[in-house]
């Protein structure tokens, strides 16, 4: 049974997967409660453009994905705050725009190959050691930042006006949240893929919310679901030769359905 650990790529996949599993709901809870769920999906598509640039110039694609995602997260926020464009439309513009850029850049690079497929749907086989290091370092940064700004993040999420009146710099906190989201999305892409990343950020949180517990407990439940689904997904995909990202998301969905049905009764 444990022969799985003899393959270094599986170990790398697990390491990267578990870090992603920890940070995704930590950011997800703030995005879901602020009705920002869709931003995760947009940033994932933006990251694909970043990956394409990385592949074109032969730079670590996780790093170019992070840069693309962070830069456009500020662009989205600015467009939204200008009030000349609806928040949703701003997301749509960035989503389709970056997908278009990704396709064009990849065409320039070396056409559509296996590499691209693994970034679209995620693949633990292709997670490189250098990517594991990047994921670990940036992941730790995300976790530490959420812990430090937990107070500000929860207050701004619950009641932005009251938070501002209590002296919290709400604008800074909003920018911080969007920055952390873009980092999280960019990190998750090698493991779970552009098209499925937002699922890992959103579904464990939505599942945990069904339990109707305190904020802290909701986070803990979401973490348990997320970590379990990633580990189980990697094992199942290894033994049954399934696509890893898809397996992880499907496990998440099964848990959501069970919880929803069970608690609804």
């Amino acid at each position: 049974m444990l022969d799985i650990f003899n393959y270094s790529f599986i170990v790398r996949g697990l390491e990267a997967g578990i870090i992603i599993a920890i940070i995704a709901p930590l950011i997800g809870i703030f995005l879901v409660l602020r009705r920002y769920s869709l931003i995760a999906d947009t940033l994932a598509h933006v990251s694909l453009a970043g990956v394409a640039i990385g592949l074109l110039f032969k730079i670590n694609p996780v790093i170019t994905a992070i840069i693309a995602s962070v830069l456009s997260s500020f662009g989205i926020e600015r467009l939204r705050l200008s009030k000349k464009v609806y928040g949703e439309s701003a997301l749509a513009i960035f989503l389709s725009g970056s997908l278009a850029s990704a396709v064009v850049i990849l065409g320039l690079a070396h056409g559509f190959n296996v590499d691209l497929f693994s970034y679209l749907f995620g693949s633990i086989v292709t997670v490189k050691q250098s990517e594991v290091y990047t994921i670990a370092i940036v992941g730790l940064f995300v976790i530490a930042t959420v812990f430090i700004f937990y107070k500000q993040l929860i207050y701004v999420t619950f009641d932005e006006d009251a938070a501002k009146i209590s002296g919290i710099p709400t604008r800074f906190v909003n920018t911080l949240l969007i920055l952390l989201s873009s980092l999280t999305v960019a990190l998750a892409i090698p493991v779970i893929g552009v098209l499925l990343t937002s699922a890992l950020i959103v579904i464990p949180v939505v599942t945990a919310l069904q339990f109707k517990k305190s904020f802290k407990r909701t986070i803990i439940i979401a973490e348990i679901i997320s970590i379990f689904s990633v580990i189980a997904g990697i094992f199942l995909s290894y033994y049954f030769n399934l696509a890893t990202g898809g397996t992880i998301v499907l496990i998440n969905l099964v848990i959501f359905c069970l919880v929803y049905l069970f608690l609804g009764l």
């Binding site: 107070k151 619950f158 938070a163 009146i165 209590s166 305190s214 904020f215």
Partner: protein
Amino acid sequence: MHKVDHTKNIIEVKNVSFSYGDQQVLKDISLNIHQGDYLGIIGPNGGGKTTLLKIMLGLLKPSRGTVSMFGQDICCFKHWSKIGYVPQNAVRFDTSFPATVEEIVTMGLYGKKGLFGSLNNKDKDKIREVLEQVEMTPFRKRLIGDLSGGQQQRVFIARALVSDPEVLFLDEPTVGVDVKTQENFYALLNLLNVKYNLTFILVSHELDIVVQEATEVACINQTLVYHGAPKDFMKGDYLSKLYGKELKFIVHDH
């Protein structure tokens, strides 16, 4: 408890005007609020009373004029822990938000704590004390969404009180709350005003309550129509001018 000086200006609103685009909402409003005042801001819907509250709190910038709080211009105001804010309940609150009463009251301390500060025993005592004050101790582990409207308002009062404010701003606090709960709510405000010398600024469309509860009334309908004692407001010809006959009837009915 600090000594109250009823002549000391806490908030000074000077020549404030405000427009949304071409539409002027407030015109040349000047208003001083003294320590210990219980000011009710009333006026017809769309008359600009909530806009004025938002300007006082620095959430909106006036197109002309200035607001100062504790002698400091609102744009550079730093002592936010002196200010408590109780939002309009019915409109802007997500009842499925996963937070307990205790977690929400704790939020009231976050502004004071700064970035790295964590809660100490004194803070925890304070949280217990305000929960006791608003009689919500038995509900402290309950989710905010599971409470009745009146109970939720008590929680928001507790959140505002926990940072030991000197001034409390309330925006239509009893919208969607039944009459009995409303009475208890205003009894609590009265106690806080008289016993703890808190200054209140209450925005409400419920004229009868404001006239009964507040010690001063400011009536806003684009301009400051009246500012003074509630009883003189009732004697004057302001009501029919502002509202027509309909509301006058409700007021007399009470």
